[in-house]
């Protein structure tokens, strides 16, 4: 039997290539078909939800302005309260957040940040706890009771932890007075956004 020549192999290669070409499977190359997995879904949900993100950022900046002790307290109290609220919410029926309450969080924490309010550690802890419980409960209630939901909640809390750590640490190390003023300007913007959000909420309620 003669050895196959280079030319005689071409039909075999062509048949293999044809078989591959004719039996395509779904690529799953895009995240809209695969998702990112529940942990990353939770993480991305937090990062893409300004109602959750902005108050957390404001509280992290406020804690950072007050110093390392406040930053550390917020770093652990806020995600902890968020976890507790989330676990309570997982078992609850789905509920939507109230835009007026969201606006109040913007006004409260944004206003305190703009004023560079000299809060005590106890008050800062209480704000972090209430913020975490409220938003965690809403997130948990929206997720529903299932294993992927619990994983999503963990991803979300991880994002809260990382954001607080980064933002608070960034502000703590700021020395220049203009840089600290810039942080307060961000607070005034958050407060202003809260006022407009309040207007939107009232108008939406009146139009119903």
């Amino acid at each position: 039997m003669s050895r196959p020549t280079h030319q005689s192999r071409i039909p075999i290669y062509a048949a293999v290539a044809f078989a591959f070409a004719m039996s395509p499977l779904t690529g799953h190359a895009h995240l809209n078909s695969t998702g990112m997995g529940p942990i990353y879904d939770g993480l991305m949900h937090f990062l893409m939800s300004p109602e959750d993100l902005v108050p957390v950022l404001a509280l992290a900046l406020l804690s950072g302005l007050r110093g390392a002790t406040f930053g550390r307290r917020t770093l652990f109290v806020l995600p902890g309260a968020w976890l507790l609220g989330g676990l309570a919410g997982l078992a609850a029926s789905a509920t939507n957040g109230n835009a007026v309450v969201s606006a109040v969080w913007f006004l409260l924490i944004g206003g305190l940040l703009a004023l560079d309010a000299k809060l005590s550690l106890r008050v800062t802890t209480a704000i972090a706890a209430f913020l975490g419980l409220y938003h965690g409960y809403l997130n948990g209630a929206g997720l529903g009771l299932s294993f992927p939901s619990a994983a999503a909640l963990l991803g979300l809390i991880f994002a809260v932890f990382v954001l607080v750590a980064l933002a608070a640490a960034f502000v703590i190390q700021l020395q220049a007075s203009w840089a600290r003023i810039a942080v307060r300007v961000v607070g005034s913007w958050i407060f202003a956004s809260g006022l407009l959000l309040m207007g939107w909420a009232v108008r939406s309620t009146a139009m119903r």
Partner: protein, 203 residues
């Protein structure tokens, strides 16, 4: 063989033609449900010259007055403006809005042109009063069906950036020629204000 310039030109023309004819959809416009709210809000304050002039003038005046006015005025303006916006959204009427907006450009232009230095509280009060007119106008103009929060954030950030532009321009105040330039800019704002007042009266 070394390619001649004509060969090189022909080759690059071919590449360019392939690129031009191998077009794909650009997706350059925001789709429904995307970040239209934020982008619309970001665009809104810069879409009207009357607002732009007044907001930049606040930054210029703050830069002329120096600390703490340089940051008190740009902090006060968005907050009070948002309060005016909230009133507009709630449907609380405010008469003479266009006159108020035009007057803001006139008075802020005069303040920058003559480098008027009132006490900080009075400067903040003047800026705050005008901010209510600007905010109310924006509040009543807000389009329906947009994401309220994202729109608001974009709107406030754009306003703050306009103040930042004014403050940045105002840093030339340390030089004599810069002080003259700022006074000239105040004159431009004043002229714009007079034009908008004329338009408001004629309307």
């Amino acid at each position: 063989m070394t390619p001649t310039p004509r060969h090189v030109l022909a080759r690059w023309s071919g590449v360019l033609a392939v690129i031009l004819f191998w077009t794909e959809s650009a997706f350059a416009h925001v789709q429904k449900g995307e970040a239209a709210g934020f982008l619309s809000g970001l665009k809104h304050p810069v879409s009207g010259l009357d607002h732009v002039l007044a907001m930049v003038a606040v930054g210029l005046w703050g830069a002329q007055l120096g600390a703490p006015a340089v940051w008190v005025l740009p902090v006060a303006f968005p907050m009070v403006m948002a309060f005016g916006g909230m009133l507009g959204l709630m449907g609380v009427p405010l008469p003479g809005i266009e006159y108020g907006i035009a007057a803001s450009a006139i008075l802020l232009g005069i303040a920058v042109m003559f480098e008027i230095r009132p006490p900080l509280a009075i400067a903040a009060f003047v800026v705050g009063i005008f901010a209510i007119f600007h905010g109310h106008a924006h509040g009543t103009e807000l389009p329906p069906g947009q994401s309220g929060l994202l729109y608001s954030m974009g709107f406030v950030i754009a306003t703050g950036c306009l103040h930042g532009v004014g403050i940045t321009i105002g840093t030339v105040h340390r030089w004599v020629w810069g002080q003259r330039l700022l006074r000239l800019a105040g004159g431009v704002v004043l002229a714009g204000g007079v034009y908008f007042m004329w338009k408001a009266i004629a309307a």
